[in-house]
Symmetry: D3
Subunit: 135 residues, 6 copies
């Protein structure tokens, strides 16, 4: 059980309602998930976190489904049950198929494996890999 | 410095050369990076790891650049310097732009943050998020 | 369910009872939590771990509540459900308020985020940050 | 070497300069550390991250030095070299002594240890530890 | 609940049955655990993962029980509940005693602790520790 | 460079020397590695950590080389460069061969991979795996 009770829309302060309204408008759905309802116990954290999520997960140089895949890969690596479920749900709404999920898991598992081989054998970074991006 | 000396093509056993040849053919490049040259000290591990990489990172339901992004997100989460550099190099060869990299970092950072908010507040998974995939 | 049954005071060996007695005296409470009751299946580990906890978590250059906050931040980062709950309980007994908890979560989440930005962009440590402590 | 060149104040866009100006004003120092100069290659990320750092690390229910300690504990747990150095520097400017640092390390190490004992033995959370906060 | 329904032998495709048959023959047991039944939703991943497990966990320079201990130490460090339980089961079948398990937990906890002391104090690697293996 | 200067034997306090003497006697070697010399800036931490290492890494139900393997597996998983090097050195002194190291890396990588498959697919723990140890 969460460490704070979830705050429902009806019981929320105007400050919290404003964030909930924006979540609903952005997602075009009335549903507010528990993450936000619990975080609403700290209204500035709610507002700050939602602003970041809205900005970072929006379409940009990467499309929103790709961003959800990246999010899930990190959440699986950290074994965050809540985030795996919530962002898989978002990913499915954006078109994730079972086969795409399987490949996401396979790449996530592989990277976690090879990260340890590279670190364990203390492999030196190849010179040609060190070139920075142009700004 | 790596815990084993890298094994160059010329000094490699036929078993190792066969893997190197396949890496070169698959990537259409003569370059063999240090990860493989060090892993070549354990020929079965070299063969097994390359087979998995070749299979998992190939085009499928997800395209190869998306797979590289997922790989980098995991490597950044685990702070594996070698893997960040090597797979960014692969990603750039597949079309990664600086702006895509920035967004990849932003999503990776956000997920690492929100994973801790969800775990720290012990947020309960919403019922509607628990629906399994159809097989 | 724990991998070993918890050992209650009444069923404990004198060696284990001595540790339980010290836990009770130190905490001025009869309550022994499950962590110790399960660890009691390995009496030397019980004694060693309790000695370390007693020494490390005692008032010193940092006050005990600050130490509990640090402990919880690590436990949230590692997603250890037991430790989050048990050390939040200790922290609350030492004066943790809901608003302090919110700020603890916010800092923990932020550090987890920025750790990945610094590692992902491979930011070089500024020279002025490298000055060691005087002994 | 960082994946993007650091952007110095003189070469920065007005958007980036505005953030640098606020960092300088908030910290009452002309120094801008590499983290911000590299992140400046993504101006919205720079602005967003700075806004969050400024808000989260400000005095509140927890004092700024305690927040730096929490930040360092997470960074040590994740082994982020840059963040350990940069936030130790901030902590020292706020009054961290060598003896406080030693205790910070001792608690961080202890929590990382006991997190694994609790998870490894699969210890059940005591009922009395599950009480949520009042909102 | 798993994200895909477990696939039972009777409902499995010939490709999946072939892997199940090999698991059964290798382990000399009819029991197929949930990990494989869920992974069977991605038959190439099932085959690839099983091939690797069979090869890596087989007797070699290290004996199979030692390999299970290493596997559990990693799983405890990552807090993977499934893997802790499944590989403890394997380890017990190979001779793990309660006292061996206690020592495994003690070493795992100690390494997690000292990893943070070494990283937090930024201890320099002693020159004599850097000698590579001969190939 | 370490955050505190290493404390050499000649400059050490009697309290620190007593620990150094015990390290030397236990290891039958005059060499004191940097980990201890840096930790010596906090004499109680030095004494406490050494006591734990001496007790936990001693021969018991598991032999000392097996304990070193477990220690390295954890250190590779956490990417602690210092600990990988120092405990590989100990392991080699106790008989670790290159082939044993290769297998240690292979199991460590595999566990890190499969931990994510189990967590990502949310595989349910099989009932028969949940049996606790008898005390």
């Amino acid at each position: 059980m969460a460490l704070f009770p979830p705050i429902e829309y009806e019981a929320a302060s105007p400050e919290v309602r404003a964030v909930y309204d924006d979540i609903r408008a952005t997602r075009q759905s009335d549903f507010i998930n528990n993450f936000w309802k619990v975080l609403a116990n700290d209204p500035p954290a709610l507002a700050r976190t939602w602003t970041t999520v809205k900005e970072v997960m929006a379409p940009g140089a990467l499309d929103p489904l790709v961003k959800e895949l990246i999010y899930v890969a990190v959440s699986v690596t950290n074994n965050c049950e809540y985030c795996i479920h919530s962002h898989l749900s978002s990913a499915r709404a954006k078109g994730l198929t079972p086969r795409m999920f399987d490949e996401l898991m396979a790449v996530t598992a592989l990277a976690n494996s090879n990260n340890r081989l590279a670190s364990g054998y203390r492999v030196d970074v190849d010179e040609r890999f060190k070139a920075p991006f142009a700004p």
